[in-house]
Symmetry: C2
Subunit: 180 residues, 2 copies
């Protein structure tokens, strides 16, 4: 049994899709994920939109209705039968998100105990064997093994084991977990 | 430099005092901390009050105005100059507390970055050298050293290094931290 910590946004929750959708609706834009290879949304929009684009995320409801990333639920439910799954999200960056993130997790991942939810900032505090995250900066002081979950913004990041989607995560753990 | 994780309730925040005060006001009781040696409040009150006593904690404002435990601020501020301080609270047990706990920490401990706040359930996820906590159950799977912060309910718990108050914490770290 391994302990696997899993990030939320861009890993199990499609926050980027929701962000683009709300940004496009507000400014009549047509940004797509494919425009964001190697970039964050803030790299691509006019300076005068940045404040509003940040505000979109800092609302009570932004995190309430995010779509679940494809296959995240089925793969995590299967992994949870033989591994200890924790959800580790940098919620402290968006304090208004606490309640919505908590309820979203209860709704979509009812097989994970809330006792295994971790709302933090600096993820070096997470004691786990693996961390699945789209932000490689969280791996720098993490003592376990980082799995970089593919996202447009990290497409050019090198030096980590990359998993392209949840089927790749399933495949990884079918072969790589150390015996107890 | 060591990494020190610090619990909130009964360690830096006087939640028990507030709980007793609200309970006494509601039921015309006169419970005091000294009545609770080796006991939790629920061990001592009539069965028919237990639901209401739980509800007292599960409100939005319970955690907003808790008194700071004596010397907690000054000792933590001093320790934060040479150590990495994280606040690790089992907030997942009381989801309505998220916002109030966050704001309480910002107000009373402004020298600790919110990136070092950890709202969790199972504290075995915390990767730190020390954990200061009043609940010994959190030490069972914690890999660092637990310091049991004295509280009425844990007065009979044996087998851990006990710190009676924040001056004792200061004294402990003046002598016990390993060299880097």
């Amino acid at each position: 049994m391994a302990r696997i910590a899993v990030d939320m946004d861009e890993v199990i929750a499609d926050a980027l899709g929701e962000h683009l959708s709300r940004y496009n609706a507000k400014f009549g834009a047509e940004l797509a994920k494919s425009d964001l290879l190697g970039l964050h949304i803030f790299d691509l929009i006019p300076d005068e939109h940045v404040g509003a684009a940040i505000d979109i995320v800092h609302t009570e409801d932004f995190f309430a209705d995010l779509p679940v990333m494809p296959h995240a639920r089925e793969v995590l439910e299967e992994l949870s039968k033989s591994h200890e799954i924790f959800i580790a999200t940098a919620a402290m960056e968006v304090p208004r998100s606490f309640r919505a993130k908590y309820e979203w997790l209860l709704r979509h991942f009812p097989f994970i105990s809330p006792m295994n939810f971790v709302f933090c900032g600096d993820k070096s505090i997470v004691d786990a064997d693996y961390l699945i995250d789209d932000n490689a900066r969280h791996f720098l002081r993490f003592k376990g093994k980082g799995l970089l979950f593919d996202a447009p913004h990290n497409r050019n990041v090198q030096g980590y084991t990359r998993v392209n989607d949840w089927l790749a995560v399933k495949e990884f753990f079918a072969h790589h977990v150390l015996p107890v």
